[in-house]
């Protein structure tokens, strides 16, 4: 696995560049990402392109032996461009413009802006497509960050109407699909359809779901245009985009299908603070992050690229600036996170960023270097881990043990219609994932319809819409399959299936969900009333051969126990791991990570022969063994 760093030559005096590049190399970094926010420096005035500085930056970095990932600068169009087409600005759900002054100030549906992006990406790719230092391109930056995947602009409205026309064909078909007879919501023409915001009460969920699909489609289209240009002008280089954590506003599988490599930006401490974790978990793991946050995303994004190629494009190197509270990682965590990415199959971990910028929005975001250029804690750990990685055996291919099914549409369905406060398909998926990880298992997160032959266990945490292909993929499996609540509860048009939930899964599982209720809790409790002749494998858990249906949520010890025994019966090696300890196998290596605040003894024999670390793991400790 390689290490890299995100670097902004335009932020620093040119006289510093060569020394920065030299220090990167000495630290063990081989890759450097640059350029993704530099449009105002590349094109300071309309049509006046300033390549010189970038030519020189690439030269300096290349001369130092660094491999460059060059970003397209489309996440930050300059002010002159925005002023030339003010309608390119996205509108929020309240109808307010989301204007210039930070970043991502554009609507994915605006044709004029798309044209400008084509132009600048083409110009960049023409100039640097064959540059020897460049090994990869990053398209834009963090699509959707700051809730920008969705826009309620006129451009989005017009695009949505056209998308609907293509999808539904006739307005009668759309009215039928959405159930618009309800509340007289029927349209006579696609031109009558509005975006599903600014309604008196909630819009039709079918309307909302199609708008989510459309918005996701626009992101994928936007990306695809850049990919096509880059492929044309820069063949042989990887095209990559950097995804985010716990983010589902577009279909990452669809975008990933157009990429050579999927990458993501890993900020375990900020994600712990900003998401659904309990106050107690936020306290306990404040300097480590929850032990499953990074791993979950590693496994999720590995599944977003057809060949499983993935990177960490931005790795948290110290405190960040954007969470409510911003602790410093426990010493050793930067090393731990790096090795954990390796254990999950990353090709590259790139730290964000080289030197802390003393100015502007992210001035409190740590880098590997302090603002005064002294090595910060992250630099020390990067240097250490670079040496360790070099010394470790090749990790080999990831195992195929447990497949956990997740897709983005599921998240949209539960966002749109949670039915009980706090119900979120993403959260459910994470919690099932975490349960499996506490048993010491290795997981692939796969999209529905993936070929899952060879897995010992399949878990489908929350899959409201089950396509015929998905049902077919599960038919005749020998491995056990565990379905969580709400499986098959909706048709593709966001309706209850005629045969009731779990809809088409009834061909596999002879049961019918005849009523659901949600009770107070954080998240809500979810209880389904099931009609079936099947036996219960536990309270509310129905079994049909190798298929299990868990009709309740949240996951409690009884559910855990059933799943543990299903896994054990499937031949998986389950270990009840101590709090904060996690294992990960890849090839014949076994990694152990201690996210806890206390030292912990590894389960005897779990790691085989130690090639890194020792059987007693300190906090933030890592050990690696070679399986016997």
């Amino acid at each position: 696995m390689k290490l890299g760093v995100c670097y902004y030559p335009e932020h620093w005096p040119e006289t510093w560049w060569a020394d920065d590049a030299r220090r990167m190399g000495e630290m063990g970094l081989s890759h450097v990402r640059i350029g993704e926010f530099a449009w105002s420096r590349i094109e300071p005035e309309p049509g006046r392109l300033e390549w010189d500085w970038l030519d020189r930056a690439l030269e300096v970095l290349g001369d130092a032996g660094l491999k460059v990932i060059l970003g397209t600068p489309t996440a930050t169009p300059p002010k002159w461009l925005v002023d030339s087409m003010p309608e390119m600005i996205a509108l929020d759900a309240g109808g307010h413009p989301r204007g210039f002054g930070s970043r991502r100030h554009y609507c994915f549906s605006h044709a004029g802006y798309a044209g400008e992006c084509d132009r600048i990406v083409t110009q960049l790719a023409e100039r640097y497509g064959q540059h020897p230092a460049i090994v990869a391109w990053q398209t834009d930056n963090e699509y959707g960050c700051h809730d920008t995947a969705v826009s309620y602009s006129l451009a989005a409205r017009d695009g949505f109407r056209e998308w609907l026309r293509r999808k539904h064909g006739t307005i009668a078909a759309l009215n039928q699909a959405w159930g618009n007879v309800f509340w007289s919501m029927e349209y006579r023409d696609f031109a009558e359809i509005e975006l599903p915001n600014l309604t008196v009460t909630q819009a039709n969920p079918a309307h909302e779901l199609d708008f989510r699909r459309f918005s996701s489609h626009q992101v994928a289209e936007f990306n695809r245009r850049q990919v096509a240009i880059l492929r044309r002008h820069s063949p042989g280089r990887d095209v990559v985009h950097n995804f985010m954590g716990f983010f589902t506003q577009f279909d990452h599988h669809a975008v990933g299908d157009d990429l050579d490599v999927v990458s993501w930006d890993s900020y375990p401490l900020g994600f712990l603070e900003q998401f659904w974790f309990s106050p107690e978990e936020k306290r306990r793991y404040q300097r480590q992050g929850h032990p499953d946050i990074a791993a979950f995303h590693h496994d999720l994004y590995r599944g977003c690229q057809r060949e499983g190629r993935w990177w960490v494009m931005e790795q948290q190197p110290g405190p960040v600036n954007w969470a409510r509270y911003n602790p410093a990682p426990l010493p050793g965590m930067v090393r731990l996170w790096t090795l954990e990415a390796m254990a999950h199959g990353a090709e590259l971990v790139s730290y964000f960023r080289w030197r802390q910028a003393p100015f502007a929005q992210e001035q409190m975001h740590a880098g590997l270097l302090r603002p005064d250029s002294v090595d910060d804690q992250g630099a020390h750990e990067a240097r250490t881990v670079a040496a360790e990685i070099a010394a470790l055996p090749d990790p080999g291919p990831p195992p195929r043990r447990v497949a956990l099914v997740f897709d983005y549409t599921a998240a949209w369905v539960t966002d749109i219609l949670p039915q009980g406060q706090g119900f979120s398909a993403l959260r459910v998926a994470f919690e099932y994932y975490s349960l499996l990880r506490r048993l010491g298992l290795d997981i692939d997160i796969v999209r529905p319809g993936t070929d899952i032959a060879g897995y010992a266990l399949v878990v489908v945490p929350c899959q409201p819409i089950c396509s015929a292909d998905f049902v077919a993929s599960l038919t005749g499996l020998s491995a056990p399959v565990v379905f969580g609540a709400r499986a098959g509860s909706k048709t593709a048009d966001f309706a209850i299936p005629a045969e009731l939930p779990p809809g088409p899964l009834q061909s596999l599982l002879p049961l019918k969900v005849v009523r659901v209720e949600s009770l107070r809790g954080q998240p809500c409790e979810w209880l389904e009333q099931v009609e079936t002749g099947l036996d219960e494998a536990g309270p509310g858990i129905f079994r049909h051969g190798q298929l299990y249906y868990v009709s309740r949520y949240p996951i409690d010890p009884q559910i855990e126990q059933v799943i543990a025994s299903v896994a054990a019966n499937a031949g998986l090696d389950c270990i009840a791991l101590p709090e904060g300890l996690r294992l990960r196998r890849t090839g014949n290596l076994v990694f152990a990570f201690n996210y806890g605040t206390e030292s912990v003894d590894l389960p005897p024999g779990a790691l085989g022969k130690f090639v890194l670390g020792e059987p007693r793991l300190p906090p933030a400790g890592v050990a690696v063994g070679v399986a016997r």
Copy 2:
């Protein structure tokens, strides 16, 4: 009492209608409400009226012996209508449009829309006014739902100016009435007056109160136009509207005065979750609703129709979709709620809805039938209770024992100027009501000025504005009258009375409230400093003959004890009921309802001779006795 159901023939294949109608009859239902959201099916294009399907639906239902309540479709104008007059859309307090895409997307003050409503209601009434199956008309649906009674549109502004001109006559009179000299808020002309939104800090409460009165007046006017058309074209049929729970945005007495029957939509579980109840109450009663929610509204709405004629137009039959959490009713609760409506004098209970719709916004709202047409729990209970009702003796007229005074202006006053967070006249009224019900008493909720001769006890929980008529109605009563805090604290123009609170009540009660304070709490604690020579009947409770003034809030055991002894001295039969148990007498019947989660023994002798149930009531149990 009759039973009915809400039905949407336009949601189902026409081939299903006859069987649906037959099953309704077999279930014991005699009434069916239809049509209130069907505008886009009645008039799919401007001026093209499609009556055929509705003709056939009425025929099928009528042939099955069902009595039809036909709704006017004005709560859901079709898209083409909205597009023809976009200014008909209401604006929220922030100035944002509340557009098409759900329901209730209209401003009550828009003349163009009012004209369209006149037209469609006339067309409907002309066609079906004499139809033999039709026994009643419902105007629109749930006026004000989703906060729609108030709009900040230009039409509302112009209407408000005109309404003010008619009310105040001259701008000088308005300036004087509102106290506009304060902060130089004086106007020179009615045309200078804006709506009380988008102000820098709170608007003049007198301005806000007049706007609330105006907005309420617009709702009543809107309804009155429909009533007049329906009366003209369909004489002899009842005209009814369906009100909501815990909703005070317009004066329901004023609207009720134009109706033959008042009805309301009873969703006890959703109301428990969405309103002010404590987390512990929300847990304890999650599957039953708080034991006083349904009864409070029954007694409130019975008082909103001059002759006391009232229905439940929509009765919750299972889990709903619109609360934060949506539990399923305890088995038996649908039956209990139905019998409780009977105990409070309902003529009809109509379940919402026949079959759960698998599509659109309410797809998670249960019906009597499941989406697959199988009887759901509500159907079983409806069938049972239909038979029980048929077997019960006639309930006879409601008793006149305790009168609880409430009006909508009181709610507006405390909304506008709570003075302590959480103070709400509606909540205070509910809490006094609940106190009296825990003593086993029967209550009429009456508007101020109602003839209250013959009541053994009168309670006035929170009546800030006391008119001369109201004071006169209390003068010379022999029954005790209990006033809660804030009585008589405001003039009709939202000012402190010259003689200080309780203003005109000082002619009855020699005391003066010279200072109030509100302290932290949920709701706030409210303490009044009173100047009086009267004795205290308890801490802060002053007595003058048969008149009591409770200068504190919330209700605590000391207040409860005083009121219990006042009631007992007035000859009322007070019983300290166990948790969750409630009694209700009507005619010579006595009903008992167990809202608790445990079985409970009825107080010996409380029910006389049992005609339904037994002395030990299980959860959700009902017993009925004939008083000896």
Copy 3:
């Protein structure tokens, strides 16, 4: 010290004026503030000025021997004026107008409105500038109240661009100063710059800070124009403005520099409820206010006028109307607050208001009189304290013992970039102040750069931007100086200093803050990692000679102990005061105030010879001694 009252003759029948004036005098009041909301009465139509009533009011008040403070009415322009220039309305951060209907409905940057203010102030000053009854002028009222110091109007945008041009000179300089290279935020011209609202995510903090500075500058300019007019037409009278509590939206030092007297509006109970105090403190002190709220502002605003001249322009006399909860002051608190102002050097305490207005927004705000003109509790206490003040010896000049440094830019910096939720420079300043007061110390709150020679102790709670002047003012001091966290952490352009925090303070204190972290808490915990060779005077507290750096927050017992010992070593007389007790020395008088709910014994000898009160202080009790 003198006493006064706020009076609104326009609210009352003219026949009441003379008696009101007589009663004021009898009560011991010598001053009366009038006129600040009377524009619609002074100029009921454009250009038609109605002076008669005001002539008569001044005559009546003057005849009764009262000294008048006349307010300019610019906080409440009449409707006709707003309608003549609708663009004068401020816009909120969401772009919504903040319109007519309450008060403060204007944008500080609107040239047209500024012209109208010039005109009306000139007309007022011409007419009454030489009036014998008038001793002072109040400009406008509570600048910034209801978040009005900042506006996002077009006028503000244009003003901001011009202000930036004057400050930065060239757009290149601005781009450099703000670090606009980050995220391609570079501008080509000042005309491209927008206000920092409606951005996708947070705007550049440098952009925000300049906008805060500009907005503050506009307030100061607005005030300065009025001051100039008043000085020209009414020489010899004091010009004053009334500031608010816990309010930092503009630089009060800058505005104070243009005033003869600074005044503030003291509402201890409302401020306790509305600000950051814990629920327990809100309960304990609900009827007294936190013991340091009033004193903090007295000491803060005394420092906002170059000669230390200050008044309380509005003193809470009973319950108010504007907090979430509005308790009544404990009997005696109005007297206590009055004497406490005296102890801190006030020249005048003026109660708000004479008689409770029974109408409009503040009808629940107590006055000295009840709405029925009877003396309320405040009147009794005012009468008592007037006599006591007359009997007390002259208080003499305030001591110079402890200087606590605070400036408004610090509050803007932490508002803009708290980095940990709840971090606020104002709150930090208050908490250090409170710590010092619990030790019985006397404090001056001074702006950075003030001459602090002669103080025994200097405390700098939170000063992110340290100018060269400020650093120079601390150089060579013999007194100990204690710096709180974040000192010197930003440059004037909102960047991290090249040498890292504490930036220029490193010339005094050899330490470097190399990392900060914020942890969950309310407020956040703040921990700095420091590189230094210095010894710790306590955990995380570094000492260099007489200079101390406290690298942690919040203040805990260890920090308190260090500061107490620093103060004691500096020769200050520290006493650990019991809960709720506070002392204040001025001249040779020593005041003691009991904010607690229990009686308390004064520390023996603390007061010298008693001239008021006794050694055992009841709740709300005050004692005064003459130091021996």
